[in-house]
């Protein structure tokens, strides 16, 4: 089957053939679009702009305890405001959606209201100072509400905005207060913990006061010096013992006693001998000496012999005194040595126990230090939180400021009747053309001699147009007139029916004028 390009005449033929397929869908679609454009209810939108103001005092000085991005907070506040309970309250207060009240459930109406509330963030492109990358910073947001009644829309938006602002304040205050309180509690708790630990350490120290690791050095030194002392003592004892021996030998060679009568006897005897050599026995001196000797002998014989007598030899006495003092010294040194050795044993004991104690002690210390650090950290944070609380109380922190309150919308925001109508016209033409094209292309019937030529090589004898007799023309004219008349009548009837059944025409006209965009 060859495809001959369509000539202009063929298009005219197609148009002629399909004019009703073209016109009826077009007109229908345009009519429907027009009706939709006119009958859609006007939707008013009122919106308020709220500025997000950063905190006045630089964040380097006072760190707010309210963290997170403003966007997140806005969203969470929005969720809180748009809770079912609050929306139901607003719906009841302003008697919103009366037309749905009978047909829809509360849940559906609330859902509808959620759809009508819009929150749009206004962002500017900035460069993040810390990272140097371009980011979008939210500086403000708009809260808007859509509805059918302009005044109600404004009031609802107002209510929503005030709810939003108070909710935000409350959230910030709560967050700050909670932070402060939490930090305070935590600080107290850690402080108690710390005190407990300190107590433990003190007790431990008291228990193991000598074996503490920090005493190890001292103990070692002490032990060392004690050992040196002991050695020295040993030396001393040895030298004293030598001296004792020496003194003992000396003492043995010295008579204990020194008798003056004996010495006098000895001296008298010697003098006697001496005198006798010169004198006779009768010489007085010799006689006197004899007597004296006898006396002395007598006295000596009378005198009981033995150690009962105190030694009176001075040398002896001196030596004996020296000996006894040496012995006493040795004794004292030995005593000292014993004491010293006991002490050294004690020290050795301490040094041995130190490592065992050290473990426990160190654990305690680490615990204490950690807790201490924690405590200090918490203390600092609590102080910061306190400052932040002051910031919030003074409303110097980041806050929302209403810069553009909700206004009474003067013009409906939706629907764009002109656009709907234009779209309707375009769609109508498209539908007409599409329908006609569909009819044309799906039409399997023969329309032109070419169609016949394609199907068969039999000759086309003649092409005869539709025969129009005068009566045909009359009938056709009459039919056209009738159709026109019916159309006019139907229009009039429709308008009348509308006037009497739906609404007065002048009222409708006024409504229409109000809805049409001002030209």
């Amino acid at each position: 089957m060859e495809d001959t390009p369509l000539a202009l005449g063929d298009y005219v033929d197609i148009l002629n053939r399909r004019k009703w397929s073209l016109i009826i869908p077009s007109v229908l679609v345009v009519l429907v679009a027009g009706l939709v454009a006119l009958l859609l209810p006007s939707i008013y939108k009122s919106s308020a702009t709220i500025l997000i103001e950063e905190q006045d005092i630089p964040a380097d000085f006072v760190m707010s305890t309210v963290t997170g991005y403003a966007e997140q907070r806005i969203q969470s506040t929005q969720q809180r405001i748009m809770s079912t309970g609050r929306l139901v309250e607003i719906i009841n207060r302003f008697n919103l959606y009366p037309e749905y009240k009978d047909r829809w459930t509360t849940e559906e109406i609330v859902e509808k209201m959620r759809e009508d509330i819009h929150l749009d963030l206004i962002s500017v492109d900035t460069i993040d100072r810390r990272t140097g990358r371009p980011t979008a910073a939210t500086i403000a947001f708009t809260l808007s509400y859509e509805g059918k009644n302009a005044a109600t829309v404004q009031r609802v938006t107002d209510t929503l905005v005030s709810l939003f602002l108070s909710e935000n304040l409350e959230v910030r205050k709560r967050q700050t207060t909670e932070t402060t309180e939490f930090l305070k509690e935590e600080t107290d708790r850690v402080r108690a913990q710390l005190a407990e630990l300190e107590e433990k350490i003190t007790t431990f120290k008291a228990q193991h006061v000598n074996a503490l690791p920090e005493m190890l050095q001292v103990n070692l030194q002490s032990l060392n010096s004690m050992e040196t002392n002991l050695q020295r003592m040993d030396d001393q004892i040895r030298s004293l013992r030598e001296r004792e021996g020496y003194l003992e030998t000396q003492l043995a060679s010295i008579p204990k006693m020194e008798d003056p009568q004996k010495q006098r006897l000895k001296a008298a005897e010697i003098e006697l001998v001496n005198l006798r050599s010169k004198f006779t026995d009768d010489y007085p001196d010799v006689k006197k000496l004899h007597l004296e000797i006898d006396e002395l002998k007598k006295r000596m014989a009378n005198k009981p012999d033995g150690g009962l007598e105190q030694p009176d030899n001075t040398a002896y006495i001196t030596l004996a005194a020296q000996l006894s003092s040496t012995r006493a010294e040795i004794k004292s040194l030995l005593q000292q040595k014993t004491a010293m050795m006991e002490k050294a044993e004690d020290y050795r004991q301490r040094i041995e126990t130190t490592p065992k104690i050290e473990q426990t002690y160190n654990a305690l210390l680490v615990d204490r230090n950690n807790t201490q650090a924690k405590y200090e950290d918490l203390l600092r944070k609590a102080m910061e939180a306190n400052v932040a609380l002051g910031l919030e109380k003074e409303q110097k922190g980041e806050r929302f400021t209403l810069i553009d309150p909700a206004r009474l919308p003067e013009k409906p925001f939706k629907p764009n009747r002109l656009a709907i109508s234009l779209i309707g016209v375009v769609l109508g033409i498209g539908a007409g053309v599409g329908f006609a094209a569909l009819r044309e292309f799906s039409d399997q019937s023969i329309h032109a001699p070419q169609d016949l030529a394609r199907l068969s090589n039999l000759p086309l004898l003649v092409s005869i147009p539709t025969i129009m007799t005068p009566s045909d023309r009359r009938i056709r004219n009459r039919k056209r007139m009738l159709v026109g008349l019916v159309c006019v009548l139907a229009c009039v009837a429709g308008i009348l029916a509308f006037h009497f059944l739906v609404m007065d025409l002048d009222v409708f006209w006024a409504k229409l004028m109000r809805r049409l965009p001002p030209m």
Partner: protein, 276 residues
């Protein structure tokens, strides 16, 4: 509109002046010339036939415009006639079957107008046979009553002469009327039909016999009847005949007898119309 009214008025006046007085008398219409003086050909006198009077207004309102001389559309049928004569002259064709693919494509009107156009030729007689046995309609189109038709002859109730009607138009006879029959295909293929066609073909040398046969898609009538005739004209109605139906119909009909197509109701906006 005014122009059209004026034209209509003029036509009406002409009708009332010329042949609007009811049935046409054979010599009254100037478009149907009687035997010309000096010619050796004489119009047959249908003494054996029934005589009926056609109602021209009814005929015209049924689009049988070739019966009147006032319509430019007649020219198309003259073209068709000329074409057929040129094809048929060599092969001595004189039985023509007019059929279509589907009903409502205008084959009956075409058959009537073609027959009337043939009858206008001065040395040609025409017999128009309504072979649509299920629905005899030609006499209704022409606006005369008839109680017997092809069926009555085929069922051997009446002789042939009794079913041929002369509707008062020179050289133009019609077989149409009677009760409808349902087993039409059997009658169409009956030996008596074969005899009839053969007789009609050979009875007069200068006669065209035109059969109005039911649509090909309507039943077996056309296919049964096709072998009996000399040539077949297929009427194709614009916007009615579907391509696949046409292809199918062409496959069923004998190719050698196909004379060609008549494209009916072809209203091309850009087509040139004679006389308009």
């Amino acid at each position: 509109m005014n122009l059209r009214k004026a034209l209509d008025k003029a036509k009406r006046e002409r009708d009332s002046h010329g042949g609007g007085k009811g049935p046409l008398s054979p010599g009254a219409s100037p478009s149907f010339p009687a035997a010309r003086p000096g010619s050796d050909w004489h119009a047959p006198v249908y003494s054996e036939s029934k005589t009926a009077a056609i109602d021209l207004e009814t005929a015209v309102s049924n689009h049988c415009v070739a019966l009147s001389a006032d319509f430019a559309e007649v020219d198309y049928y003259k073209v068709l006639r000329t074409q057929l004569r040129q094809i048929g002259r060599e092969k001595t064709w004189n039985t023509i079957m007019v059929t279509s693919v589907a009903p409502g494509e205008g084959k009956t009107v075409t058959a009537i107008n073609l027959a009337a156009t043939f009858a206008r030729e001065y040395n040609q007689t025409v017999l128009l046979v309504d072979a649509d046995l299920r629905r005899q309609s030609i006499h209704h189109y022409l606006g005369y009553p008839s109680s017997s038709g092809l069926r009555d002859y085929l069922e051997e109730r009446v002789p042939m002469n009794d079913i041929i009607t002369w509707p008062g138009i020179e050289k133009f006879t019609v077989i149409s009327g009677g009760q409808p029959v349902h087993e039409s295909a059997e009658l169409m293929g009956s030996p008596r039909m074969q005899t009839l066609v053969a007789e009609l073909k050979n009875r007069y040398a200068d006669r065209y016999v035109i059969f109005d046969v039911p649509p090909v898609m309507g039943g077996a009538d056309a296919l049964t009847f096709a072998p009996l005739v000399d040539c077949i004209i297929l009427v194709v109605g614009v916007g009615i005949t579907r391509r696949q139906d046409l292809t199918q119909a062409l496959e069923m009909l004998p190719q050698e007898k196909m004379a060609g197509f008549v494209l009916n109701q072809f209203n091309r906006a850009t087509a040139h119309r004679y006389g308009h």
